[in-house]
Subunit: 578 residues, 2 copies
């Protein structure tokens, strides 16, 4: 399908926006009027600039507060419209978005609205322009999409149709299935935006928090399917107002928008993710020589080394960590640099990631190395799709048994600008599903945290953004599943007490006020959480090494969370020791 | 009055918070439980740390979801409370905040609530603890302060009183005058927070957007007056949850909190600002030699020079600008460094600023110079309070007549962390009143803008924060009142066309669609705005010099705004030329 995007969705001046949009592969744009007004190029120059870039101008928007007005206001509004039709002729745009009147002067009379919109459509026709009438969620009288359609049908003019906007429909909780009552040829345009569920004024929600399809909580696939079932054949067009996107790189935002539309098309076509990962194959850490001791203490052993690279394999159970001593000077101490995922079809997974515009990374490898396909996550972490062949490169030795069985989850901290992008990446590219979203107090700010997991829970990722004061950097961590955290803690406490993050006694005073827990937890520094369904979570943290630490976790009785209530305790202790 | 603050209001670990709070001169603190739980110090150590710093522990908080519960839940809740009483004994805290139950399990039965709270108060009494019961704005059943009082009165126990929180009262639109129905000795505690008016879920509003008294839109003076009239004799205590404060310096936040309480006390005492400025005396710019030409073109003349410093006086009408060529290397080209205000009592104004903890700046001056008292605004701009004596230092010559008559307003851009502080500064220290608050789209982000003015409009300041992408710095500007912007523009267009910021033709196509305006505006590059009451605004912008530009403005028919709708046009053109 044809793919468009409103110029307001990306940052920059109008020429910069057009270039970024074209570079991302869009077919067309909606020209947002303010972008044109602030641009020194004439409409003719914008038209030819767009044409040179291969972009059609699919819509000019918005035209406000037109219909349902007293006669004297109507005259001024028609004069205003005539001027806009002339601008559109110069731009080569033939579709104008008219959004429902929000003025207190508007009269609540559908017949009057229809009559005036018919008049507007007649005038538009003289200029070869068509009108797409949209119900704003906060329209004075018309604020439901079926109401807008009723007015359009009443007006009954070939140059008048309706514009559907997923945000305006879904933010009000309207059921999009009613779209199928609208003849496809009367749906003149479709604007798509997702959004997180927020309990706030819908106007503020719309103007600051929209995001691309798949980045929020709305069902864009269901809505778009209804629009297509109605017979709509126009473009899928993104229209997003987002405070973060406004500050971000236009190129990156446009590319992410394109990725969201490709993912939407795939979900419409019923394309399932070809290779949802079955588990973590490994996590790779840049090491300056300090991690081996920590891993030994945790019961890991060095079970292999790469034939041609300075990379060691450390294992325990199915938990495998690679310590890479190359490029250590580019990191500030130990850092998480790559994640390997067990993939039933590594080639298919990389091809799928490529179809979603993820950068596929070139690999330097020796001829005898196993092929390893990798892509880059939004924060630059490398993601490898692996079958078991990679282990041969390390000549893995005997299986090491201990309390730790596998990697439970990996927590990555993203720059603020990549949070929405990361949500779409982990959902679309890796096939993970969004789990809980949380805000966690940090002594110097807030962490916003989103957990995502594969359907069977074998791969769990936690994506954090840190809104913290300057100079306070967040940590990444690897959580290791452990059969018996208490037993492991007993051993660590006895043999390596300095490796355990000290947990304040005050925490246990509160824990014991809330639950009857084993007093040994306090002696060992093991943290505890309980969910509402009887599930329990025991976990402990190691001290940090560079920007990395390890967590040992034990899930009991189907506990699905991450002990988020304990994270602020951990953050405060880490900061105090940093 | 005794002044306290909740530890959650400032950033850092608990010891850091206590130090910053003590340094700002508070008498006491509310210990926010999570701050204690995450702290490695024992309650006894926290107690002695606070005592060493001269801080009393006035409240321990919060204790949640206690009352109106089924019998089996009550047993667990009492057990939980007993543990907290023991912690409080160790802390040396004797007042516990109990906030109204938000659990879906809570039963809507005031008699049950009162009975269980009486039981809690009896147990508390055994530990020397008193209970302050507060209605959360989102409490399940009890969410109005008078409802909480009704339950407290029904329970009738000397160790049970109510806690009033201005946010919970004013966010619901409750009238605080009803507080006067509560006997003062039953008001156990008063928590103060202001907030901007936001149309959003009250829980989110409370947790992220609270600010200090005088920084938001609530009438804290009226509420506090009612509390005092009721006979309350306890502390004024700040409790603020704010995403920006969380990331800011604890010292700076605590000091700003103290400033807000001093300003509140002054307004309670009916202390008027002793010296609201009568106008702008001057604006001072760091100059690298480029500003003289620009000012000459605008009709200014060099009318004086400082006797002992490299500072020139440039004048036109009553508009006076100082060009300072010292320290130019510390700025990236021309920059606004100081503002002089005409003050009926400069000494009183500085003393008042000092009472509000504003830093009074030391002045290097020659013995023959006029005394000039200066303070630092939050962004570091120096503010001088002047009588006319300062002009003598410059030996001002003949009055220069031209279209420009005086400084209309000055627009400063603040760092994000100082926005709330700046609002309180301009309101409390300078006696300005908040005018409009706006969001302005910038090509690379958003500007949040707050205008403030003296009651007669003679001094107007616009405070902006720029939420823009990295590398995009905002500008400061000086707006000059002009008798006839069109005539001045004609002259500039003829003589110095390169000094005018070019305004796109597309802007005028839109302007002419909306209003019947003189086509000469387009030829001259003059911008236009109209308010809803017949007021009109003509203005133009110069090109930028360094981080500074000038605006010429003409207010017609009582127009009070700033042409905000035209600012995005200006920003886009400035960025395109930057």
């Amino acid at each position: 399908m044809r793919k468009s995007i409103a110029t307001v969705s990306v940052s920059g001046t109008l020429p910069e926006k057009l270039e970024a949009i074209a570079a991302a592969g869009f077919d067309g744009v909606e020209i947002f009027e303010n972008d044109l007004l602030a641009c020194p190029l004439s409409p003719e120059e914008v038209r030819s600039r767009a044409a040179d870039l291969g972009l059609g101008i699919d819509l000019y928007q918005p035209f406000r507060d037109f219909e349902s007005v007293p006669a004297d206001v109507l005259a001024g509004n028609l004069r205003r419209a005539e001027r806009k039709f002339r601008v559109m002729e110069r731009l080569g745009a033939d579709l104008l978005l008219v959004c429902s009147n929000v003025s207190p002067d508007a009269i609540g009379d559908d017949e009057l609205a229809a009559e005036q919109l018919r008049l507007l459509a007649e005038r538009a026709a003289e200029h070869g322009v068509r009108i797409a009438y949209e119900a704003l969620a906060w329209g004075r009288h018309v604020n439901e999409y079926l109401h807008a359609w009723r007015v359009v049908r009443m007006a009954d003019h070939p140059n008048l149709g309706t514009c559907l906007d997923s945000f305006h429909i879904l933010s009000r909780g309207s059921d999009p299935i009613g779209i199928e009552a609208i003849p496809g040829e009367k749906i003149f345009f479709l604007q798509l935006a997702d959004a997180p569920l927020l309990a706030m004024d819908v106007l503020q929600w719309s103007r600051h928090y929209r995001c691309f399809p798949g980045q929020g909580n709305f069902d864009l696939t269901g809505l778009t399917a209804s629009v297509l079932r109605a017979g709509y054949a126009g473009p899928l067009s993104l229209e997003v107002f987002n405070d973060v996107f406004r500050q971000a790189s236009a190129e990156r935002t446009a590319l992410d928008g394109m990725r969201s539309l490709i993912a939407l098309e795939q979900s419409l076509d019923g394309v399932a993710h070809p290779a949802v990962p079955a588990g973590f194959a490994f996590a790779e850490l840049a090491d300056d020589g300090t991690l081996g001791g920590l891993l030994s203490a945790l019961g890991f052993a060095r079970t292999g080394a790469h034939a041609s690279k300075p990379v060691e394999l450390w294992s325990q159970g199915e938990a495998r960590l690679l310590l890479n001593s190359r490029d250590q000077e580019s990191h500030d101490g130990p850092a998480l640099v790559a994640i390997g995922l067990d993939s039933p079809d590594p080639g298919g997974a990389v091809k799928h990631a490529g179809s979603l515009l993820s950068p596929v990374l070139p690999r330097e490898r020796a001829p005898e190395d196993a092929p390893l396909d990798a892509i880059a996550a939004p924060d630059g972490t490398e993601i490898f799709f692996c079958d078991n062949a990679w282990l041969a490169d390390f000549g893995e030795g005997a299986l090491v048994e201990g309390g730790i069985t596998r990697i439970d989850h990996v927590a990555l901290t993203q720059p603020l600008h990549y949070f929405d992008e990361a949500a779409l990446f982990y959902r679309g590219v890796l096939g993970l599903r969004p789990q809980e979203s949380l805000e966690l107090p940090d002594p110097y700010g807030l962490l916003r945290s989103k957990a995502m997991s594969s359907p069977d829970g074998a791969v769990r990722m936690v994506v954090n953004i840190a809104q913290v004061g300057a100079g306070h950097h967040p940590w990444q961590h690897i959580a290791l599943a452990c059969d018996d955290v208490v037993a492991t803690a007993r051993r660590l406490r006895a043999e390596h007490p300095d490796l355990l993050l000290p947990i304040p006694d005050n925490y246990y005073d509160d824990l014991e006020a809330r639950y009857e827990v084993d007093p040994e937890l306090r002696r060992l520094g093991v943290l505890y959480d309980r969910d509402g369904r009887g599930g329990e979570f025991l976990h402990l943290y190691t001290v940090t090494a560079g920007r990395v630490f390890f967590e040992l976790v034990q899930r009991i009785g189907g506990y699905q969370g991450y002990g988020a209530g304990n994270a602020p305790i951990r953050l405060a202790v880490q900061h105090a020791g940093a």
